[in-house]
Amino acid sequence: MEDYAGVSERMVKKATALGAQDAVADIYLNRNYQVRFSQNQVDISNKWRNIAGWLFVAVDRRLVFTEINDFSRADKVVENTVKVARRSQENPEYGGIAAGPFRYRASKPDRKITELEDGGDLVQAGIQAAVKAGAKETAGVFWRYDEEHFLHTSGGVSATRRGANLYFSLRALRSLEESGHGVECATRFADFHPERAGEKAGEIAKAVKKPGKGEAGKYDVVFDTLFLGSMIDQIGGRAGAFEVRAGLSPLKDKVGKPIASDIVTLYDDSTANTMGARPFDDEGVPSQRNVIVERGVLKTYLHNTSTAKLFSTRTTANAGLVAPGSNALVLEPGDHTKEELFEQVRDGLYVTNTWYTRYQSYVTGDFSTIPRDGIFRIKNGKIAGSVKDIRLTDNILGLWQRMEALSKETQEVMWWGEVHVPTIVPYGLARQVGFTRSSM
């Protein structure tokens, strides 16, 4: 294998020699492997063999990123990048990159994951569990993620990391409107059980049974983990300083203020054992656990070195050099069992998954999202039938302020389009959540 750490270092040295005050180079190897399936059989298997990288330079506060594919042209690419920077516009808000070097905790991917050649049996295990639980049709995806990074910065960082994870997502259907979804995430092969996701999806699908038309109104709601993961994404994913400053977050000017009920404590935590674990951010700053929300109060935005300076604070180790953000979120569990959450609902809903979350105003947090898969009525603490065709229409901060209880039981989830980063999430109970439906 080529000396990518050396290439990364040479690019940074060349950029600084040409006049860049700051330079960061990250070369990454993508060895991902994926199997997609539908109708209970595999549609396509995909494999990637990319080696690419990016270079960031700051020349007199003129910032340029470039991607690099062909490392035989690395010198030329660096020269051109610095040249483009000189012709660009100054960013007076730019506050530099982190000064290292740093020490990192050791991390090693599971060899049983990196050496996995064929995910067919794992896919079949998930499908069969779903069918056994009641699914007639399944569709989903198996991923073996395996990425290795070689980072070098003019701030004195020289670091490598390799992360390998397994992920499985399965939607089980008995008909178009009788469906359930389950996911499984693991950093160790021994912890990976796709049949759990299949079984859960199949059980939800089976429980739906000819859903009736849902009614608009305010409901007390028990959220399953995929749905609550999406709602966490709307807080953790909008806590980045970039989103806050671009008008894309309801959290602007709310640090130190209550934004959720006092049972809500949310961490950004790339040190936790999740698929989002990584030893350092894109500047090489060692990962740390950040309290985003503590007992309902917003404690911080997520920063890189530059945005931290704008907010007169310290980096939270969440670079992205343009847009800092979380790689893993953890919602602190509560002290209820899942059953106890249901017992506290006299007349409400149990929602299992959602998609298409959109805002009327990111500043006010007025939004809607569309429950998909099983939506169940709860009456006197028990499931009492299922419904369809309703839309959660509410305010995201209002919803979190009405979060009344969380379960002890948690699950790591991530899901296409809604839960963007691995998130450890309990079940939740919120009161008086707004729902609307098609009028005609």
Binding site: R49, N69, R358
Partner: protein, 470 residues
């Protein structure tokens, strides 16, 4: 071109490894993009991404592999990967591709102002000028966000049936997002423009005047906007609303892979089943098309990513489901022909059925004629919040710029008009379709890995009778 040789080699090698069908796409995306946030250039990004994707059909199973290292050894290893992972799968029902003729072609999009000839300083200046004029309006806009990008996309497609197609399609995009405030009240808006061609795009869009008009409408909504009334009203949709409805509740539900369940776990399924061609879904006034061959539209192409010639598709015709968006795999399953809808965002992902430029086909009404017949109604010129369920049946659009219509006249602005109704209810309520036609660009999301693809959507003004609004 050495890269073409690599693609030809990949297909030849796949055949030797036992592939019954093989195709290779070499792509080069030369991009520039930048973000202006509140007048400050956050960063400029330039890249030259290239690589090869190889898809093989072996024993009725599909394998796909991609690499960005175009050496013979690496391409050979990539093909071997694709063949190996395909062979590892045993399907009950073998995948087949419908027969399509081999094509040799070379197509290019013409640039009046070549993207490569415009200095980055000039590109920045064009957007900075909009930003400066926006600030000069003194409208309170505390968050202003612009993103501009160019992509000079070169492709070479070849397959084991003898197709060899080269293409060049430069694409320009401008996105902006504005936040206006007044006394603690907030209105937000975004717009997305797209163009296949050269840097003349900015003039063609008339971007400066459009952004300024949008800012003034934000201010007007905040100053004069009243709560939108509730009840059954006539509704006139502007082109932006016609466009999003055509994309969400016509284009998506007619994607054949979705109908067949291949997207069920991600972007979902469809209320449409394979046997519903000819079924009524709207009024006879409604024709919704998807057309990759519209000159200068962001999703312009002449051949799709399976080498099939592009053409206009009537998805809903005279209010009935008319045609699905097909690639060669779905067409074989549904015993029809591909209609050239196979698209992929990059060389590194498979091509699947996608929309290109989706729109309500114009008819002969002017906006004034539509208004004349409306005693009381709402003119929803644009929207902010929208979504639709994953079977594409229950949709919602919340007005951004909207006005009351009283006795045929557009009067006071109203805020946050909500239209929430089913797909048949939406299209069945249409009684008049305008003769104008406008498009906006978007990124259409589907597949896993997520393929956020260049698309556009549009339409004329359109009148819906007696729909429930709140």
């Amino acid at each position: 071109m050495a890269d073409r040789d690599m693609a030809d080699f990949a297909v030849e090698h796949a055949g030797k490894q036992g592939a019954q069908y093989a195709e290779a796409r070499v792509e080069n995306h030369s991009t520039e993009s930048f973000i202006l946030k509140n007048g400050v250039l956050d960063a400029l990004s330039v890249s030259d991404d290239f690589g090869i994707g190889v898809r093989v059909l072996v024993g009725g199973s599909l394998g796909f592999a991609a690499t960005n290292r175009l050496t013979k050894d690496e391409v050979r290893a990539t093909v071997d990967d694709a063949v190996r992972i395909a062979k590892a799968v045993k399907r009950r029902t073998p995948i087949e591709f419908v027969q399509e003729k081999a094509v040799k072609a070379d197509w290019k999009v013409r640039e009046r102002k070549k993207v490569a000839d415009v200095d980055i300083e000039d590109k920045l200046e064009a957007v900075l000028q909009i930003e400066r004029e926006l600030v000069d309006t003194k409208i309170p806009l505390p968050a202003r966000f612009f993103q501009a990008s160019t992509n000079r996309l070169k492709k070479y497609f070849t397959n084991s049936e003898g197709s060899k197609i080269t293409s060049y399609s430069p694409r320009i995009r401008l996105y902006y997002f504005l936040t206006a405030v007044k006394d603690g009240d907030v209105e937000q808006t975004y717009r997305n423009y797209g163009w296949s061609g050269g840097w003349e795009a900015l003039e063609e869009w008339d971007a400066l005047n459009k952004v300024l008009a949008e800012a003034r409408s934000l201010e007007k909504s905040l100053k004069e906007g009243k709560k939108s009334p509730e009840g059954k009203w006539d509704l006139i949709c502007g082109p932006q609303v016609s466009g999003i409805a055509s994309h969400e509740s016509c284009g998506h539900p007619t994607e054949a892979d979705r109908i067949l369940g291949r997207e069920a776990s991600q972007a979902g399924k469809s209320f449409i089943t394979p046997d519903m061609i000819g079924e009524k879904v709207g009024s006879p006034e409604v024709n919704v098309c998807d057309d990759p061959t519209l000159k200068n539209a962001i999703a312009y192409y002449e051949y799709d990513d399976e080498g099939v010639k592009a053409r206009r598709r009537y998805l809903y015709k005279e209010g009935k489901i008319h045609e699905f968006l097909q690639n060669r795999e779905t067409a074989a399953k549904l015993q029809t022909r591909s209609n050239g809808a196979a698209r992929a965002t990059t060389y590194a992902v498979e091509a699947i059925p996608r929309m290109a430029n989706t729109f309500v086909e114009p008819k002969d009404w002017s906006l004034e004629e539509m208004l004349e017949d409306v005693k009381r109604g709402i003119y929803m010129k644009s929207f902010m919040e929208w979504n639709i369920d994953d079977k594409r049946y229950n949709q919602k659009y919340v007005g951004r710029e909207a006005y009351l219509i009283e006795d045929g006249e557009v009067t006071a602005p109203v805020r946050k008009t909500v239209l929430e109704l089913t797909t048949p209810a939406f299209w069945s309520a249409v009684d008049a379709v305008g003769k104008d036609l406008e498009f906006e660009a978007g990124f259409c999301g589907k597949s896993d890995p997520m393929q956020a693809l260049d698309a556009s959507m549009g339409g004329p003004h359109m009148r819906l009778r007696d729909v429930y609004l709140r």
